[in-house]
Amino acid sequence: MKSTAAIVGTGEVPTGNYPNRTEAEAAVTACRQAILDAGLSPRDIEAVMPVGVVMGSRHFNTDLIFSRLCEELGMLRSVKLNAQVMAGGASGSATLKVAYALVASGAVRNVLVVHSDKFGSTTMQQGIDLFATLGISEEWEAPYGHNANTAVALITQRYMHETGTTEEELAAVAVSMRQWGALNPNAMFRKPITVEEVMRGDHVCTPLRPKTMSLWADGASAYIVARAEDARHITPTPVYVRGMASLVTHYSVSQEANLAFLAFPEVAKEAYAQAGLGPKDIHVAEFYDAYSVMPLLAMDAMNLCDGDRAGRFIAAGHTLPGGKLPMTTTGGAIAQGHTGAGVGVSLVVETARQLMDKAGDRQVKDAVNAAESGSGGTWMDSHISILSREAR
């Protein structure tokens, strides 16, 4: 795939519980940061693409749809398109794909993608009740007490059955996430934990223990995609899109034909082919979590574990800071916090930050190529993107 688009700027506000920070304030702040980071002015932006709001107010969601950000940030009569894209947890990968298509087609010169949502004030039971409806069939699944936790538990159990992955290895994913979170000033959980601490938490639903899951948080992040020919004039460190593969595999998780791996094996192969790169070329993996099993599927599918199983590779410490394959360097939803559709957007932002040499204490030395993954709803789709400092 010829690199016809690149990320040129990113912005993000801290993730956590911020009852006095409105969704709008967070969105505007993240957008302003992204525009300034790119060295652009507001009137250079030609498209604004907000992601859908799940827990923040309906009024704020319609504000995003109806161009409030264009007015707040001085983009009136210069932005040509303000339109929402929503794919749940896959919204990072999905916005990247749509933004890529818009600039590659020549429809617009650039796209500002933004997510802002407010989950931090949600009570545990409100969240559980909401997530017993999202991606859950009302007629065929909800009557059985099924919910988002059991959905991923079904995937986790089958993945363990087919690969031999252990609960301790799933705990090691959370340990890796927390170590990265400790280095991330925007993360909600910055204290490292041990496998023993994770294993001490009683199952919520087997085989899931609380610390292998994530907690809801407020957050906002933004990034700008520009045409490749513009990108190199905008920033000295454009991050080129080299591969973007994805496949929708189900609505009801009960209808998934490959519960252990979803479509990650197919999309990993396609993404490598598009990028003209292989497993040895990937220096950092920004893989979507929300739950500890999800990055394992992408790690295995992309063959990033020296021929070993992802669980054993991670338990050996190879994805930790300083390890041979740094993974999800924000700490992901498990450590940075679960902002809804924003988890994926923040991983696209982190992918760009790593390849722009702007990742602070988390910076992976000499990272040239990175992979990013996403999945939405009750894991309805599998996305893998490959980004690079080098254009193809």
Partner: protein, 139 residues
């Protein structure tokens, strides 16, 4: 979000799913199929997902299959299920080839493993005219 308690989710049959729920009330498991291309369909649909035909029918299932995956909900379920646990959620692969979500019930339900053989059973939802197909471990 409101703090109103959720009521227990009860299937609301549609024009195209009504035969499934009618059969379940009679303790029969039926699976939808396409009369044009013979595709077996689950969950039931308005049109055949293979050929988009509206010429759909139903056949009796022997209710036998295996556990594709499962989870035991031990705590923190959705409001309507608080105090009803622990319970087993599972994806069942019927021998006829379709998959469905259900519960594993019965004495040995918590011993369930992937690949275990199961057979359909039926549980009425009290106070409604809906009966849910559920499964028990066999052997």
């Amino acid at each position: 979000m409101s703090d109103q308690p959720m009521s227990r989710p009860v299937p609301k049959p549609t024009a195209w799913s009504q035969p499934y729920w009618d059969a379940a009330r009679e303790e029969r498991l039926v699976i939808q199929h396409c009369n044009q291309c013979a595709t077996k369909i689950m969950n039931p649909k308005q049109y055949c997902p293979s050929c988009l035909s509206d010429d759909l029918g139903w056949s009796e299932s022997d209710g036998q299959g295996t556990v594709y995956s499962f989870s035991i909900q031990k705590r923190s379920p959705a409001s309507p299920f608080v105090g009803k646990g622990p319970y087993v959620v599972a994806v069942i692969r019927l021998n006829s080839g379709v998959q469905l979500l259900s519960n594993i019930v019965g004495e040995r339900a918590f011993d369930v493993q992937c690949g275990d053989a199961v057979r359909v059973a039926f549980e009425p939802i009290p106070g409604t005219d809906i009966t849910l197909p559920v499964f028990t471990l066999v052997g």
